[in-house]
Amino acid sequence: MRQLQMPGIYRIAFKLLVNDRTKFAALLVGITFAVFLMIEMTSLFAGILSRASATVINIGASIWVMDPSVQTVANTIPVPDYVLDEVRSIPGVKYAVPLYSGAALLKLHDGTYQAANVIGLDDSSLFGRPQLISGHIENIFAENAFIAVDDSEFYKLKGANIGAQFELNDHRGVIVGTARVISSGLFGVPTLYTTYYRAMQYIPNSRFTISYVLVEPKKPADVAAIKRQVAAAGYLALTKDEFIRKISAFYKYQTGIGTNMLIMTLISFIIGLSISGQTFYTFILENIEKFGALKAIGAKGSELVSMILFQATFVSLTGYGLGVGLCSLVIWLARLYLPDYAAMVTYTNLGLAFIMVVVIASISSYFGVRKVLTIEPFDIFRG
C-alpha cells in the first residue's frame, strides 16, 4: 500500500520552521499566550453570564412573566397577585405558579451574619425544586424548613447539614435537606429554597410579593399568544432562553464587564499579533535570500507562497491547540482551589479564538508572502 506522504516542499517548509528553534518557540509562545488570554477572558465572561442567569437555569420554567422593567433575574420587581390569576386565565397556559426570589440576611449558629438568596417555591406544586442530595422534599413543608443548595457557596453557611439552625429576620430556620443545582449564582452568596408562603412570612416585603410568574404552555405554539396576552396586560413574558439573553445583554452592554472583557480580548489579540507577526516576518526576512535562490532555481511563486502559508498554518494551529490546552489546565487548577471560579469554555469562545488566530496567521503570512513575491532572483546574483 502506498504510504501517504507530505509533499516535499511542505517538508522543507516544516523543517525550515521547526529547526529554527528560537523563532519557532517565540512564535508558539506568542500564539499560545494570545489564545490562552483570549479564551480565558471570553470564558470568564461566559462563566459570569451563565452564573448571572443561574436562577433561570436552575428553576427551568418555560416562560417567565415579569415587570417590563426587570433587567436581570436578581433585580426583581414584584408583580400583583392578580397577574397570576390573569395569566392562569390565558388560553394555552397549562399551569402558572408564583415564584419568590429575594435576598435575606441570616444569623448563623455562631452569631455571624451571612447574606443569602432565598427562593420561595409554589406551595402546592413546588415547581422548580432542586434535586435533593440529602433529606426529603416533603420536609420543606415542616416548620421553619429550608433546603440549602450545596454549591460553591455552601461552606459559607458553616455546616448547614440537616438539623442546622439559623435566624432569619427573627424567625428560626432549620435545614431539612441539601440539594444540588445546575449553576451556582454570580454574587457569591448561598442559596436557600423554601415555600413561597414561608418566604413571604419570613422576609420583609413590599406591597406586591410575586417576583415572577412561571408558566408552562400547553404546547410550544401557544407561547406567542401567551406573550401577546401578557403584554396586553402591561407585563412581559419571556421564554427561558429569551430571559437568559436579556440578562446577558444587560451585563454585556449596560455594565462595564462586557466592555472590559472585550478590551482585554482585543489586547490579547494585539499581543499575539505583535509577537507572532513580528517573529514570522523576521523569520521570512532572514530566509529571504534563500527564497530568492529557490526562485532562481525554479520554484514558482505559488510554491513559495504555499510554503509560507503552510508554515503560518502549522504554527498557528499548534499554538491554538497549546493555548486551548493551557487555558483548560488553568481553569481546572483554578477550580480545584477556587470553587467560585466562574469560567466556562464554550464552542463560541473556541470559535472566536480560532477566528482571531486565523486573522493573526493571515496578517503575519501576508507580509511574508508579499516580501517573498517581490524578491527578484536577480538580486541574489547581484548580492
Binding site: 516542499i9 525550515l16 529547526n19 525554479g298 527578484e376 532572483p377 541574489i380
Partner: protein, 234 residues
C-alpha cells in the same frame, strides 16, 4: 542535440529612466557550446551579472533574444520559464545560499523536490551527488558545520543534481582561498563538465583562467572579445 547550448542575440538591458538610466548591457550577442567551460570576465560594473541573469532566464532583457538549446526562453510564460530553469539550468551562487536549518543532503535535494520527486528518492540521489563532489558521509550535517570549500561543493551538488544542461557559477572562488578555489574549479572541469553540458563561470579570479575553454571579456556592458578561441561575437 545541437552543439550550441546558449545563443544570445542583440541583448540590451537598462535600468531606470531618463537621466538616471543606466545601460547595463549593450547589444550583446554570443554563443556558448556544449562541452565547453566559458568564462565571463570584466571589471565590476561591466554587465557580467546582468548578462548572466538574462541568459539564465531570471532577468528579462529590454530587447534581444536568448535561446537555450531550442527554446526562446523569453517567449514563454513565467511559470514555464521557472520549470525550464528547474530542469535545464543549474546555479551556483556566489554566497552559496544554502539553508542553514536543513541538512546538506536536504539542501542538495531541493531541485529534485521542486521537480516533485519523492522525498526519499530525492535524498538518495542527493547523497549520491554529494559523493560525486567528494562529500561522502556529510549528508546529515548542516552546512554551517562544513568549511567554505565544502559548502561550495554542496552548492555545486545542488546545481547538478537535476542533471541540467547548463551550469552557471557566479564568482565560485570569491569566498575561497587560492588553493581551494583552484581545486574547486579543477574539480568542476574534470568531473562536472561533459559533452552534454555547458558551464559558464563569471569570475574576477585570474588564477583559474587556465581551466577555461574560452574567456569572454566584457567592459561597459559590451562584449570586447574572446581569449583562448575564436571571436564569436556577431
Amino acid at each position: 542535440m545541437s552543439s550550441t547550448a546558449i545563443s544570445a542575440a542583440g541583448l540590451n538591458k537598462w535600468f531606470g529612466e531618463g537621466e538616471a538610466r543606466t545601460h547595463a548591457v549593450k547589444d550583446l550577442s554570443f554563443e556558448a557550446r556544449f562541452g565547453e567551460m566559458l568564462y565571463v570576465v570584466g571589471p565590476s560594473g561591466s554587465g557580467k551579472t546582468t548578462m548572466l541573469s538574462m541568459i539564465s532566464g531570471i532577468l528579462r532583457p529590454n530587447s534581444g533574444s536568448v535561446r537555450v538549446e531550442d527554446t526562446d526562453i523569453w517567449s514563454i510564460s513565467d511559470d514555464r520559464l521557472a520549470q525550464f530553469r528547474l530542469h535545464k539550468i543549474g546555479f551556483v551562487f556566489q554566497d552559496y545560499h544554502l539553508f542553514p536549518r536543513l541538512t546538506t543532503a536536504e539542501n542538495v535535494a531541493i531541485p529534485l523536490i521542486l521537480q516533485q520527486r519523492p522525498w526519499d528518492q530525492a535524498l538518495t540521489e542527493a547523497a549520491h551527488d554529494l559523493e560525486i563532489v567528494g562529500l561522502k558521509g556529510r549528508a546529515d550535517l548542516p552546512p554551517v558545520k562544513l568549511s567554505g570549500g565544502e559548502q561550495q561543493r554542496v552548492a555545486i551538488a545542488r546545481a547538478i543534481v537535476g542533471r541540467p544542461d547548463v551550469l552557471i557559477l557566479d564568482e565560485p572562488t570569491a569566498s575561497l582561498d587560492g588553493d581551494t578555489g583552484r581545486n574547486i574549479v579543477q574539480f568542476v572541469r574534470e568531473h562536472i563538465l561533459s559533452e552534454q553540458r555547458c558551464i559558464i563561470i563569471v569570475t574576477h579570479d585570474s588564477r583559474i583562467y587556465e581551466f577555461a575553454d574560452r574567456i569572454m571579456k566584457m567592459e561597459d556592458g559590451r562584449l570586447t572579445g574572446f581569449d583562448r578561441g575564436e571571436l564569436d561575437a556577431q
